[in-house]
Symmetry: C2
């Protein structure tokens, strides 16, 4: 394949993470390299993903990020600095106007490289766009770069963004373990962690075991059916052993009949409207009703994906690398691919940047494998800890301003 | 007053904070100094406060903390390393046995210095104990060292523990502001912050304004009556201006009739039991019902007081200083006092360690003063920001182990 010259564009899509801007920084770093090599002139950023791009709401990133210092600040800024969207692209047959419009904008700005950072839906966009351009004889390289705190994408050992979220979850759970253990009174604390279909983040709550020994007594993932009676028996057993019991649960745990534990606790507010409760809240009520001891639930909520003040250096370094790698591979002729992180074989953790053909990636969810969950379905095995441990290693030097982490606003 | 020689004991009481162990470290540092000066031989730590002390559950801290490194780790360990209790002491008349038992233990271990780190109840314990010992001709110096993330104690400019909790709240709110602003869709996010009777921590959510400009659109404290209609009008106005609206509320906000906003949203669970909701959840329901846009609520919950991974250096330094100061003043003959932090006059922030006679401190709550709250009762003034800003300054170097902050377990 020959050298393709022109401009590049990058967008962010889907739910933000604390590392999605590190990947953006990687793409910018890659573009600066590609500029030096003569492949790329300008790197545009689309505001609010493909949605803003269709309105030509773009910024010149090569101009804005002229200094290493700014890139470093971007790498420690949470969420999506370019804004995001939740647009799911239809097929070209179903929505030809959108594709024609995209082609028009590509031509207008001489866009030859298209980088899209996001989750499953974004990879779908990459796949469709890549095929459409090929069918319309417009030469463009379309590369997807994954991100999600859920760690549930296929084809990659883990996803950029997961390590930092896991570090935040494990740190917070470790601190909560200290907090709830100060009294001699019997008490149950239930921590609800993100993860609708996969329990990776909840599994990370087991990591404090590797640094000081304390860890949640019980951990429940959506990969296993949630059994109310078994849960209550395990809580009672733990309470017999020590006063402060901590339980970590995924938001997505389900009963045998497939209903979410959360949805089963539907409540009515003062106005009589039905309100959904979280799984943690429902288990809090259950413990209160059936065991009767002091109990509280804590939903870690959005801070799990936004907490850029305690990033995993491993995650941020890898997030930057996949962004840079995306540009590199595109200049080499790759298109319709998704970047991946490859864990090398061996006892020591070494990762490298890889890629997979997007068409080969099913829209499937990668769940926590059986060998990472204990037999009682209420804890993480040593094999699981071994998989998770290196992903949270290392800290990123954060710049503070007026006592708070400094963020960049584009 | 002459030199008093003997042993010392220190305890922690009430709800933990991220800085209560820094104060413990200060007391240990003070005891090591006092040992060198010949005042104190051993410093005992009581497990689970006065409750454990009554069972003689004590440890020798002068032996455990022989190295500077261990003290540094202790200063970054959240919660109460010695354990805590919630015991409210009755008067000697009402419960003579307890006081006689205490005197017995004092004599048995030759305790001449008694340091108690805690909130209002702990200061009450200090006051009663100091008076009782005096009336029974047992020479002992009893000093209270305050702590609370609520910052609501009288006589001190602010409380040890508040600055770190405020830094965590402001950091988290700053990160959430980035997170919720990525979409173009209109959405309201309500963040519920600790503070039953005083809104200090909630006020700290305004601090991101000093580092980057973004801040919550609306802030509601328990110091002002919460008006539902005014709230809805303000949210609507903010939504007209920009899509992502963030509201910070204290858990303790109340309607004009004195009922808690939280309690007013009582819901019934699947079993028909009445369940209390938080103020944030009730406002979430209100916005959903009355405005109808996307809305979510986030309760920051226990991590506010447990997050030792993002400490305020100012807070930790001061927390250590009041602990050391307590020992110093006790050796000088002071008893029945509570340590305080004094803010020196002048534009630059300078603080020093002070004290107040405990008998002079009413069991009153120190609320956020009028001049810190805006006229519309939904925001913080520049004067408020000026008071808060220095308390979150500086970061503490945290030691990590297996990717997580290292804690010490006594």
């Amino acid at each position: 394949m020959g050298i393709l010259k022109g401009n590049a564009v990058v967008g962010q899509s889907g739910g933000p993470t604390a590392a999605i801007n590190a990947t953006l920084s990687g793409v910018i770093r890659g573009a600066l390299w590609a500029k030096g090599e003569g492949y790329v002139d300008k790197l545009y950023g689309m505001r609010n993903g493909i949605e803003g791009f269709l309105d030509e709401r773009i910024v010149d990133l090569t101009e804005i990020f002229s200094s290493e210092k700014k890139l470093k600040t971007l790498e420690a800024t949470p969420a999506a600095a370019l804004g995001s969207c939740r647009k799911k692209m239809k097929s070209p047959d179903a929505d030809p106007d959108t594709y024609e419009r995209l082609l028009e904008i590509f031509k207008k700005y001489d866009i030859r490289y298209f980088f899209y950072i996001g989750g499953n839906d974004s990879m779908d966009t990459v796949s469709k766009l890549s095929a459409y351009a090929k069918n319309h004889d417009y030469e463009i390289r379309v590369v997807g770069v994954p991100k999600t705190v859920d760690n549930d994408l296929m084809a990659t050992d883990h996803t950029p963004g997961f390590g930092s979220a896991a570090k935040y979850v494990a740190t917070t759970v470790k601190e909560l373990l200290r907090d709830v253990s100060v009294y001699t009174l019997k008490a149950v604390t239930i921590v609800e962690i993100m993860g609708r279909d996969a329990g990776w983040l909840t599994a990370a709550s087991a990591l404090p075991a590797l640094s000081g020994g304390m860890a949640p007594d019980l951990i429940y993932l959506p990969e296993r059916v949630f059994d109310k009676e078994a849960f209550l028996a395990s809580v009672r057993e733990a309470l017999d052993d020590h006063p402060a019991v901590l339980v970590a649960v995924s938001e997505g745990i389900r009963y045998a009949d497939g209903t979410y534990v959360g949805a089963s606790g539907t409540a009515r507010d003062a106005f009589g409207h039905v309100q959904l409760s979280g799984a943690g809240k429902v288990l809090e009520w259950l413990v209160k009703d059936e065991i009767g001891c002091k109990v509280r639930s804590i939903e870690l909520n959005l801070p799990q994906r936004a907490a850029a003040h305690i990033l995993s250096k491993t995650d941020i370094d890898e997030s930057v690398s996949v962004g840079m790698g995306a540009v590199k591979l595109a200049t080499e002729g790759k298109t319709g691919i998704m970047m991946t992180i490859v864990r090398e074989a061996g006892d020591e953790y070494v990762s490298s940047v890889g890629y997979a053909e997007i068409s080969a990636i099913a829209n499937a969810v990668r769940q926590v494998p059986d060998e990472y969950i204990n037999e009682a379905s209420n804890g993480i095995t040593d094999a699981g800890l071994k998989y998770l441990a290196p992903l949270i290693l290392g800290e990123v030097d954060i710049e503070f301003e007026a006592g708070l982490p400094k963020h960049i606003i584009i």
